[in-house]
């Protein structure tokens, strides 16, 4: 394999990961191949790293395409109103509001310790607010920041546990889990116990479990910690797929570079406690 072939293959892969449609991606790769042949330049000189070039291409066509094809938002799925939570007389959350509809993605941002995870746990019903209400229409999938996996079970046994709640057969649960894992570039048929998985792989397991029962509302608490860059992109692609299939998604994140693609941003940092769309 020549240097060009390797770079072109990487480019195709990175474009698909960023959700550039197959036909467009093929044309971009073919055009780059022609350019390299015509100019005789090495790919790094003409285009730079494949991942960086794919990002620029995706910005040129991908974002517009994503916005164009998405269906209109559906009914309200989650409404948090006037959420207040105090720890030791300190207001962690003071009157937070958030509404998310089916087919929308909300990002919850803010500095460490500003109450992002607390807010998500309140939305999930895991802890109670001191004041305020959470209204959820439908089922909830929750992906914690860490924990949530069972040390002495294999990944597939986790899928069986989740599927059991929906009366799925063991084989159906395993198959659905493996398919979801594959979209994160992970082979979940491993016989390893979850306590032996890397931190990033355990987070993939958490993420797969959160989406496995096809919930109406997905609450994701920085689920990509320990992910490499490719998996991080796969993660956002999964978020767009959930959104486009009519789920309401709430993502706690400190990564700001995806914010132009979400529908609602809830900023919990300090004085700047407001919401905009």
């Amino acid at each position: 394999m020549t240097i060009n072939d390797g770079w072109l293959r990487d480019l195709g892969m990175e474009l698909r990961r960023r959700g550039v449609p197959g036909g467009t991606a093929d044309h971009v790769v073919a055009e780059a191949a022609t350019h390299l042949r015509d100019s005789g330049e090495p790919p790094m000189a003409a285009f730079g790293p494949a991942g960086a070039y794919a990002a620029v291409v995706s910005d040129s066509v991908g974002a517009a395409w994503r916005r164009a094809r998405r269906p209109a938002p559906g009914p309200m799925r989650l409404r948090a109103r006037g959420i207040v939570k105090r720890y030791r007389r300190r207001d962690v959350l003071s009157g937070v509001d958030l509404t998310v509809h089916a087919g929308e993605v909300a990002a919850v941002i803010g500095a460490n310790g500003c109450g992002k995870s607390t807010f998500l746990r309140i939305c999930a019903g895991l802890i109670s607010p001191d004041k305020g209400t959470v209204q959820v229409d439908g089922s909830i999938g929750y992906c914690p920041q860490d924990g949530g996996t069972i040390d002495f079970l294999r990944p597939e046994e986790h899928f069986v546990l989740v599927g059991g709640g929906r009366n799925w057969s063991r084989e159906r649960s395993r198959a659905k889990g493996r398919a979801a894992a594959a979209t994160l570039d992970w082979d979940a048929s491993t016989p390893m116990l979850s306590r032996h998985l890397s931190g990033g792989t355990r987070q993939k397991l958490n993420l797969v479990m959160a989406g496995l029962s096809e919930p109406d509302v997905l609450l994701l608490d920085e689920p990509y910690q320990g992910f490499d860059r490719g998996t991080y992109l796969d993660f956002w692609e999964q978020v767009w797929r959930w959104r486009d299939s009519g789920r309401a998604v709430v993502v706690v994140t400190h990564m700001l570079n995806q914010l132009d693609l979400v529908d609602t941003v809830l900023d919990l940092s300090g004085a700047n406690r407001e919401r905009w769309s």
């Binding site: 044309h27 971009v28 073919a30 055009e31 780059a32 022609t34 350019h35 390299l36 042949r37 015509d38 100019s39 330049e41 000189a45 003409a46 285009f47 730079g48 070039y53 620029v56 291409v57 910005d59 040129s60 066509v61 517009a64 395409w65």
Partner: protein, 125 residues
């Protein structure tokens, strides 16, 4: 001397970033062209060397906004190439852009020349 040369290069590439899409649109207004040919044409026009990684995203944006139309074809010699040609919408955009640029560049010229004139006066007194 070297340092100022580097800065000039940066400034030039910043300028180019602002006008490259309009230059490309103007270059395909006279007839269709393909990527590598446009790279050569931009350099031959004195705007300096540009990378494929800079040009093709510009072409993609022009295509996705309907200002150019494209066609994959076998060239007179060599492999299949993607040919770009201007559309009616592209022509309208280009006409407007020419007017906007003339007005903008004459404003910039006026400011720069005024500043330069003041410097000249200072030197002569």
């Amino acid at each position: 001397m070297l340092a100022s040369g580097v800065v000039d290069q940066e400034r030039r590439s910043q300028w180019l970033r602002g006008v490259l899409d309009m230059c490309v649109l103007a270059m395909v207004s006279g007839g269709e062209s393909y990527g590598y040919h446009l790279v050569q044409a931009v350099e031959a026009a004195g705007l300096g060397p540009i990378k494929g990684g800079t040009l093709y995203p510009v072409l993609l944006r022009l295509e996705s906004t309907g200002l150019v139309a494209t066609d994959w074809r076998q060239g007179p010699s060599g492999p299949a190439r993607k040919y770009y040609r201007i559309t009616a919408a592209g022509q309208a955009t280009l006409r407007q852009a020419v007017l906007d640029w003339q007005s903008f560049s004459s404003d910039v010229n006026a400011i720069l020349q005024r500043g330069n004139a003041i410097l000249q006066e200072g030197q002569s007194t």
